[in-house]
């Protein structure tokens, strides 16, 4: 029990550090907040007439529809940012200091993920606030908003795990940074920005099977209509799958790094 308590304290301390790192450096915040907000404004303004298309789900406005996609984008960029920060720690030698300390190994990864989860939480709150300020309704009310926040925050852990795994495996910030276009690709090939049924092939078919589509639909449903158990469960299953993948890859990369130095 005391090992668990120690581990929890370490995770908390490292998580607090990673949160402080991000919020003390505006250039780390800006890709997570500024770009997705700018894109939200541009896409809402530019493609907003799309809600007139036959087959578009009934929504109050295109902004209401887009909020979930923007939260996803911000969350994924936060995961990428977390991976970059972790890789910088490795390059600087800070992780060596941690490895040389009597702390549970996996706490090092979990601490970084705690920071990424905090960024995911921040992203979800930011875009919900933007939506409310510009007139979007959250049809699911407070429970709906809380569900959206919970799904985004746990997704951040999932994506952060993959970022951490890549950082541990490569030890290079520029490699992790180079994966940023991949974030865009994954988002464009999902229903983050437009209903999957109205997308153009082959993006349409890819989006149908993209696990990130399930997550974004799970976040979107409580905003545009209300909480739906099936959508929510599908989102949770997708998040769980990515968490398992991320944590598995991280654990393997961590073992590799500890073995090879």
């Amino acid at each position: 029990m005391s090992d668990l308590r120690t581990g929890a304290r370490v995770v908390g301390a490292l998580g607090a550090r990673s949160i402080r790192q991000t919020f003390r450096r505006p250039q780390l915040i800006s890709p997570i907040v500024v770009f997705p907000t700018l894109l939200l404004a541009i896409q809402t303004g530019g493609a907003g007439a799309g809600i007139e298309l036959p087959g578009f789900p009934p929504v109050q406005s295109f902004l209401q529809f887009m909020l979930a996609g923007s939260m996803m984008q911000s969350m994924m960029l936060a995961g990428n940012s977390g991976g970059i920060a972790f890789a910088v720690d490795i390059e600087m030698g800070f992780t060596d200091r941690l490895f040389a300390s009597p702390i549970p190994r996996f706490a090092i990864v979990l601490g970084r993920l705690a920071g990424t989860a905090a960024l995911g939480l921040f992203a979800s709150l930011w875009f919900l606030a933007i939506g409310l300020i510009f007139g979007a309704h959250i049809e699911g009310g407070i429970p709906g908003a809380l569900l959206a926040i919970a799904l985004i925050t746990t997704s951040a852990i999932a994506v952060g795990g993959i970022g951490a795994a890549i950082a541990l495996r490569t030890g290079s910030a520029s490699v992790v940074q180079g994966l940023f276009p991949l974030v865009l690709v994954v988002l464009f090939l999902s229903s983050a920005f437009f209903p999957q049924e109205l997308m153009v092939e082959p993006a349409k078919t890819i989006a149908e099977y993209n696990p990130f589509s399930f997550i974004v639909e799970g976040v979107r449903e409580p905003i545009i209509s209300g909480i739906d158990a099936t959508q929510t469960l599908e989102a949770v299953a997708a998040i769980a799958g990515i968490i398992l993948l991320g944590l598995g890859l991280s654990a393997s990369a961590l073992r590799h790094r500890l073995r090879t130095g």
Binding site: I42, G48, A49, M199, V200
Partner: protein, 268 residues
């Protein structure tokens, strides 16, 4: 003050010398592409991803009444080409900031070359580099069905791309010389992204949301987008072309002057 030595003033550099300096600076700029493996990839990848992604995501917008164009890919390919120009120009600003941090800019500033020549080398290099992502995006576009814009449409489009890259390079250079740090990079990129996309980028002016329609009407880059797009969605006319030329000339004038001012104030 006492005269220090023989005081015959060196003659100002002639146009040949200035041209040679611009050419030498452009030649240096190409090293980044040719001598750093994979350096060209990010600048090409981003606009290509946006082009294919936007086409896949918003392609159905073409069915909305008011959309004159037959194909969404033809409608947005010029926007992606201009986005590539914007990224390339902003990257020139980031490179200048890096050069400043590493001391290279001091070498340029301590030479007798006029400041506008030093800036011109950086800006023209960005214009030339912008042809790479633009051509790549266009090639991909043709593969997925973008219609041939005609030779006149192609020329006007590339002219707008080169000019937009120069505008972006002036913007990026201005910020680089003002902040003297690569941390201004997000501002360089976001500024250009906003300028190019707050236009009828995704849909015709009449189909934009009212607030964006208003912004786009005032945004000079709207004319640049329309001029670049005309061959791809119809035919090229002087009426659609001259506003674009005027817009880039105006932007170059304003941003170029601001960038030159910052260059002259680096020793303040």
């Amino acid at each position: 003050m006492e005269a220090a030595s023989v005081t015959r003033a060196p003659a100002p550099a002639g146009w040949r010398t200035n041209l040679a300096t611009v050419a030498a600076l452009m030649a240096r700029a190409k090293n980044e592409l040719l001598r750093v493996p994979g350096a060209a990839i990010p600048g090409v990848l981003a606009p290509t991803i946006f082009f294919l992604g936007l086409n896949g995501v918003f392609g159905s917008l073409i069915h909305l009444p008011g959309f004159d164009s037959g194909s969404y890919e033809s409608f947005i390919v010029p926007v992606s080409m201009l986005q590539g120009a914007g990224f390339t120009g902003a990257a020139a600003g980031v490179n200048l900031a890096r050069d400043y941090e590493q001391g290279w800019v001091d070498r340029l500033l301590v030479s007798p070359a006029p400041r506008w020549v030093l800036l011109g080398g950086n800006v023209l290099a960005a214009s030339a580099r912008a042809f790479i992502p633009a051509t790549f995006v266009l090639a991909i576009g043709f593969l997925i069905g973008v219609q041939w814009p005609g030779l006149d449409g192609l020329i006007v489009c590339y002219l707008m791309v080169a000019a937009m890259a120069a505008v972006a390079a002036c913007w990026g250079s201005m910020l680089a010389l003002h902040y003297k740090s690569q941390s201004a990079a997000p501002l360089m990129q976001a500024g250009m992204m906003g300028l190019i996309l707050l236009t009828p980028a995704y849909a015709p002016l009449e189909l934009l949301q009212p607030w964006l329609e208003k912004v786009a009407e005032f945004n000079p880059v709207t004319h640049v987008v329309e001029a670049a797009r005309q061959g791809f969605v119809g035919s090229v006319t002087w009426g659609e072309t001259w506003p674009g030329l005027l817009a880039v000339a105006g932007l170059l004038g304003v941003l170029g002057a601001l960038a030159l001012r910052e260059m002259r104030r680096t020793n303040a």
